[in-house]
Amino acid sequence: MDAPDPSTGSYYVSDDFYAALVEDFSGWQTPDRAITDAALRESCAQFLAEEARLLDSDRLDDWLALFVPECIYWVPGTRDGDPRREIAIAFDDRRRLEDRIFRLRTGEAWSQRPRSRTTRMVSNIELFSTPDPEIAMVRSNFLTVEFRDGETRIWSGWNGHRLRDMTTRWKILVKQVNLIDYDQNLRNPSIVL
């Protein structure tokens, strides 16, 4: 039997998947797991710059192509919480990410009419190893300046990327966006962070 298509059926977001996700995203930023290989760090920095550029230039399909098929985009509303038990600012699987992009493109998503323009700075990139030699965890700080409808404002925080295939071509398994103001009332959070 072929694997189900995650764009049409969400079979992979299972109990086990959630449990592994929570495990993968706890306690990973430890000195003993730091990756110091300069070439690897450089290729990772390039990859994150590419991701930022695709988002800033509204190339959302190309951005989505950076993800593995069974991916997660996660903006937690707490620190160290469990998405099975609490509401997240966003918790998108592949299909919901495609929903998100579809909606923005209808031209009738009033929160994005006019569309936002963004410029993203990504810095303080640190790589951490995982038990799987093909997978790395990456922490980076972001500063996203959003201009929309005459106003300019800032989103900031740090991203946790879980990346695969570091020796060939990076792919995003999970992108976790940790806003500094995750627990506050946010005005029009309708851009992809």
Binding site: Y11, Y12, I87, R96, W110, R187, P189
Partner: protein, 455 residues
């Protein structure tokens, strides 16, 4: 108890003659733009009626507290050491600093950061540094934290009012308690717990949100992108709020006005009354196919009941002025200023103390978290921008009127029962006209506002 809306005997009367600003078919734009009206609302609405303050599941144990606001008043909602629910003013009786700067937690006492006065979680002043520098007797009640004199819970929903003449909470809720009961009773044990929130804000007056809360007219326009998204695999699909699409006024749903500003949009009649029918109209959600298969395998015929609990309940229950039950959310709106409002969409989770769900409650909640994130992400953001754009439009000051007359003057449009409860078609603005009448009555009254310091 101390009277508040008078300083040295100078009472503060209405800012405007509201008879000239609120008519049957329209209201004046300054209701939404004038800071004086906003200030007056903070007393005559957000002080004088029962205001929703929080949910008991946020403070389950003695000494638990959560920060909240009543209008703009900073409060600490506590379950004190004796288990009594209290809404303490987060305002030091010395020179006025806040005594609690955490959003939530557990504490037997609160110490002010400025000069160290300490208060028990009953509000009682417990200690003052170097008291021999004072001639006062600190046993005097006047140094205890102020608190909301009347705090009551209705099945977990905690409300407070400063108005000594307000009716009981049950009388204030009146008929809207019916849909609230039904909403709770669809859950095992007749209860839910809150589990974090989608927290949003908009640059607009708080009433724009209340006016929208039972508005069935905006749905297919303001939420067009959401409806298209939920049905993108089948354009003629029936997912989500698709029952609004063709001619909503001919659908069996209705809007109902209960009095005291409370209303109810009941969309349940659009959905077949059988297990699984709610689940069938859910749009796509993360984990949907996995958890459905696993629940069907574990529960067999009873799986539909569990899946319906993960599905959005098609109701909007609006309790004036700041509580909205929508789908599975407890949505709370909090005014910040005349043109800024916070709106917090608390998620709710199912608890299963009696084992009705045969051990599947965690799976139900894992689904239910994702179904609840959909509307704030893909629906509410568009409404909030539309509200902000109303606030922009209102800057055109010579164009004075805001019309809310849909349905007005059309014969046989409504039914009014013996209790005065009004029922009409779902796109009708009758609920808005009625809550504006209630608003006007409150703004023209002189409520007996008080605080308490008695512990």
């Amino acid at each position: 108890m101390t009277g508040l809306r008078s300083i040295d005997g100078v009472a503060s009367g209405p800012a405007w003659d509201y008879d000239k600003l609120v008519f049957e078919d329209r209201v004046h734009r300054i209701l939404y733009t004038d800071p004086r009206i906003f200030d007056e609302e903070m007393t005559k609405i957000f002080g004088a009626v029962w205001v929703y303050l929080g949910h008991e599941s946020q403070i389950p144990a003695p000494n638990d507290f959560v920060a909240t606001r009543m209008g703009r008043r900073p409060l600490i909602l506590v379950r004190d050491s004796e288990g009594v629910l209290r809404a303490l003013y987060n305002r030091c009786t010395h020179r006025g600093s806040t005594v609690c700067r955490e959003a939530r937690g557990s504490a037997k006492s609160f110490q002010c950061g400025y000069h160290g006065w300490t208060f028990l979680n009953s509000g009682k002043l417990n200690g003052v540094p170097w008291p021999d520098g004072y001639a006062d007797n600190f046993e005097d009640e006047k140094f205890n934290l102020a608190q909301v004199p009347r705090v009551e819970s209705y099945r977990g929903f905690v409300f407070g009012t400063l108005n000594l003449d307000a009716p009981s909470l049950a009388d204030y809720l009146g008929g809207v308690a019916g849909p609230l009961d039904e909403w709770l009773d669809r859950h095992p044990g007749g209860k839910v717990v809150v589990c974090e929130a989608n927290r949003l804000k908009f640059k607009g007056n708080w009433k724009l949100l209340y006016d929208n809360s039972a508005d069935g007219y905006h749905v297919v326009f303001s939420h067009r992108s959401l409806l298209a998204m939920e049905n993108r695999f089948d354009e003629d699909g029936d997912k989500g709020m698709a029952f609004y699409k063709s001619s909503p006024d001919n659908a069996p749903m209705y809007v109902r006005y209960f009095g005291n500003g409370h209303h109810f949009k009941d969309k349940r009649p659009n959905v077949e009354d059988r297990p699984g029918a709610l689940w069938e109209i859910e749009g796509p959600h993360p984990g949907m196919e996995h958890f459905e298969a696993s629940l069907r395998q574990r529960l067999g015929d009873r799986a539909d009941l569990a899946l319906d609990l993960a599905s959005s309940e098609p109701v909007n229950i609006n309790v004036f002025p700041n509580l909205h039950i929508l789908g599975n959310h407890i949505q709370v709106s909090t005014p910040v200023s005349v043109d800024e409002t916070d709106t917090t969409w608390y998620g709710t989770a199912v608890v299963d103390e009696t084992g009705e769900l045969e051990g599947t409650v965690d799976a139900v909640n894992a689904l239910r978290m994702r179904t609840q994130e959909s509307f704030p992400n893909f629906g509410e953001v568009d409404d909030l921008v539309n509200f902000e754009q109303i606030q922009v439009g209102f800057q055109a000051e010579e164009d004075e009127w805001v019309y809310m007359h849909r349905g007005l003057g059309i014969p046989d449009r409504f039914e009014v029962d013996d209790d005065g409860v009004i029922t009409g078609p779902p796109t009708d603005e009758v609920f808005m006209r009625e809550h504006m009448k209630a608003w006007k009555r409150l703004m023209m009254a002189e409520p007996r506002i008080a605080i308490s310091r008695t512990v």
